[in-house]
């Protein structure tokens, strides 16, 4: 269970990225964050695993306030929260296997990991993860030799290595074509259903949101302006749409499953 209370983030240059954001993410949900570029989606996800330090507010993760954690405690808590990225963020020149094993660093003694050594159990886990994501034969390739879709699978495998209870996905399909986007989101959906991993995912395409989300929040200029379920998305009114995407945004076509065009 993740609870965010009154989260505010003001950057050093004065930009207010998040204002008073509060929501609850019950275990096993697939929550999607929608909103324009710059609406604070990435900041929100990075505050939750403290890649960015929030200015104010509480982030209660299974009873612990993440916002107050430091050092070793923070790192130990981070292990249970995986993260995947729009640009995959793999170490391009390292092998796929090394990239996947990096997900295990939080559990590995520093002494061994600095030497590049991982336990047999971890190696087995890494191969299982690659197999589960359908790319077992790519283990020894360099990460940048893989296609975009395959790289994102490596990213998911790395997150999976943490044996997380929650995966944060920052626009995981924004650099992929629509077919690959579905296959990546299906992988996340499988993890969500089979392993009961909660997903907090930011997305741009409303048809994907409808198809995969169980619950949705919409951000506009750092505030939550919309809350709903997947079913509510289908019934989104024009007014709600404009709350999220601004007054100049237009919905394409009659159906709601259109593509958002930034004004």
């Amino acid at each position: 269970m993740l609870e965010v209370h009154n989260l505010t983030k003001i950057y050093d240059d004065g930009t207010v990225a998040l204002r008073d954001v509060s929501f609850k993410l019950p275990d096993g949900e697939f929550m999607v964050v929608i909103g324009l570029s710059g609406s604070g989606k990435s900041t929100l996800l990075r505050c939750i695993n403290r890649l960015i330090d929030p200015t104010e507010g509480e982030i209660i993760w299974n009873g612990i306030d993440l916002a107050k954690l430091k050092g070793k405690e923070l790192r130990e808590t981070r292990r249970s929260i995986g993260m995947i990225f729009q640009h995959f963020n793999l170490v391009k020149r390292s092998s796929v296997l090394t990239n996947v094993l990096a997900g295990r660093l939080g559990y590995t003694p520093i002494r061994l990991s600095v030497m590049g050594r991982f336990s047999k159990g971890d190696m087995k886990l890494a191969h299982q993860a690659l197999e589960r994501l359908g790319i077992p034969e790519q283990a020894s390739k360099r990460a940048d030799e893989l296609s975009g879709g395959q790289q994102q699978r490596v990213g998911i495998a790395r997150a999976l290595m943490q044996q997380p209870k929650l995966i944060l996905a920052d626009e995981p399909v924004a650099s992929l074509d629509p077919v690959l986007a579905h296959s990546i989101l299906q992988q996340l959906e499988r993890l969500n259903r089979e392993d009961r991993i909660s997903i907090l995912c930011s997305l741009h395409y409303l048809d994907l949101v409808q198809r995969y989300a169980t619950t949705v929040i919409g951000l506009h200029e750092g505030r939550i302006v919309y809350r709903g379920s997947a079913r509510d998305i289908r019934a989104m009114t024009d007014a709600e749409f404009k709350d999220i995407y601004g007054q100049e945004a237009e919905r394409v076509g009659e159906s709601i499953g259109g593509i958002i065009q930034d004004a």
Binding site: N49, T77, N89, L90, R93, A102, Y107, T108, R158
Partner: protein, 502 residues
């Protein structure tokens, strides 16, 4: 909103007489007419070019006739010694004429393109440059012909790479001076050693501005066939000298069997007369022959040992360069140093020093280093190290600046600590460019160290410089070949290694 343009004031069109006057003035001062016609930029460009070209032409004339005074003598001597100056002068006059024509039409209100004029200015500067920098194609062609022999020595120096030890072949006869009642016996014909038999075996020496000495008939044998034999003398106190007769050294060609016959007159006296009643001198034939086993010449050995020294010189300089430039590169990386104003100041300071050090050529650093540690490879290592630190420091810091923050973020998100993040997120990103830059630098350092010897930095350059100064072009050729081969191999190897890492 577009405002209606105010109608241009009707300018009185100057009459042709006025235009011609301006054109004539413009001939003497190109740009003047253009100035009147309000073509300010064109006028200034033409004035500046005119002043520069005029100044240069005057200077070249004075330079060509430094001892003459007065306009006419300088002019005449200038075009006689430097015919190109006349050509340049004609071009300049054409430029002045074209400028005045341009001015005439501009004054008459005709828009004209000045591209031709400026091309002419460029051509003028080209020929002035040609004259000024002493370009002489004729000398190049004739010099090429004259230098062909030396060049061929440099291009194919390998006869100098092998040498045979020299051996003296000598046969002698004892001569008594003056003749006693019992002159020495004639030397024997030896079965397999060179010999010289004199007939007679005694006589008197020549006297300066006096009577000639006795004639001797020499027969030699067992010398190397078809090779010159020098006729030499050894006096009673052991001095050896080559005999001269009629101003020429005496030598004789041996026949196919290695024998010779020659008539000579006994040489001048070089010793005081009162050494004793009778003196025993020796006349001998001598050949200097390279007969021994072929072996690597001293020059070849020197070239090889100094080439090895050079490669290691480059390597050591690169090693020291790495050791110092890695920590410095972190101080010179903007993304690491933008945290506070103190680090920013350090960043600019380090960057500035690196730029200054890098802009000073290694050759100059070598001169400075030889002042401190004296001639030799160590000076070369110091010079190349200093330059490598600056160059690698900049390249490394740019590699650090260009690392992708994404993977670092991703590794942090897994719960990895600082050290793990560096090992898994930072090092894999900077190792490839670091290796690549380092190999490249090693390549450069070896190439540089081949010439750094010329200013006393040790290595093969030192030898090369010496041999060129001694006009030993074959030996220099050996050094050039070794440098070329080494640099080519290194170039290939470094390119291959860098390909693997990028």
């Amino acid at each position: 909103m577009i405002e209606p343009k105010p109608s241009p004031p009707i300018q009185p069109r100057p009459n042709p007489i006025q235009a011609i006057v301006v054109a004539i003035l413009t001939f003497f001062l190109p740009g003047l007419g253009q100035l009147f016609a309000r073509k300010i930029r064109r006028a200034l460009l033409m004035l500046a070019s005119y002043a520069t070209i005029g100044g240069l032409i005057v200077w070249r004339f004075v330079e060509a006739a430094p001892r003459d005074t007065g306009f006419v003598p300088i002019f005449l001597k200038g075009i006689r010694l430097e015919p190109m100056l006349l050509f340049i002068l004609i071009l300049a006059i054409i430029f002045m004429i074209l400028a005045s024509i341009d001015a005439y039409f501009l004054i008459r209100g005709v828009e004209r393109n000045a591209a031709g004029l400026f091309i002419l200015i460029a051509v003028l500067f080209f020929f002035l440059g040609w004259q000024l920098s002493d370009i002489n194609l004729v000398r190049f062609i004739t010099g090429l012909d004259e230098g062909r022999y030396r060049l061929s020595q440099v291009m194919w120096p390998w006869s100098r790479a092998i040498e045979r030890p020299e051996e003296l072949i000598r046969g002698e006869a004892i001569i008594e001076i003056p003749c006693s009642e019992n002159p020495p016996a004639q030397s024997e014909i030896l079965p397999d050693e060179a010999y010289v038999i004199s007939d007679p075996t005694c006589g008197v020496l020549s006297v300066q501005q006096g009577p000639e000495g006795s004639p001797l008939h020499l027969i030699g044998g067992n010398f190397i066939p078809n090779m010159e034999v020098d006729i030499m003398w050894e006096d009673p106190i052991g001095n050896e000298f080559r005999q001269r007769q009629g101003g020429e050294y005496i030598s004789v060609m041996s026949d196919d069997e290695g024998g010779f016959e020659i008539d000579i007159i006994m040489p001048y006296r070089l010793l005081p007369t009162d050494v004793g009643e009778f003196q025993y001198w020796a006349v001998f034939g001598q050949q200097v022959a390279s007969l021994g086993e072929a072996q690597a010449s001293t020059e070849l050995k020197l070239a090889i040992s100094h080439m090895i020294e050079t490669i290691f010189l480059g390597m050591m300089a690169t090693c020291f360069g790495i050791v110092f430039s890695v920590p410095i590169s972190f101080l010179a990386a903007r993304n690491l140093m933008s945290a506070s104003w103190i680090t920013v100041i350090i960043y600019y300071l380090v960057r500035g020093v690196l730029n200054i050090v890098r802009s000073i050529e290694p050759l100059i650093w070598a001169v400075i280093a030889t002042i401190i540690v004296g001639l030799g490879p160590f000076a070369g290592i110091l010079a190349l190290t200093v330059h490598s630190i600056a160059a690698l420091g900049k390249l490394y810091s740019e590699a650090i600046e260009s690392i992708d923050p994404g993977p670092i973020e991703a590794i942090q998100a897994t719960g990895a600590n600082w050290l793990q993040t560096v090992v898994y997120g930072v090092i894999p990103q900077i190792i490839p460019p670091f290796v690549s830059f380092t190999i490249y630098r090693w390549d450069i350092n070896v190439r540089m160290s081949t010439i750094i010897g010329m200013v006393g930095g040790g290595g093969i350059g030192f030898l090369l410089y010496q041999w060129i100064k001694l006009l030993d072009y074959r030996a220099a050729g050996i050094a050039v070949w070794f440098i070329a081969i080494t640099v080519a191999i290194l170039d290939f190897v470094s390119a291959e290694i860098r390909k693997r890492f990028v």
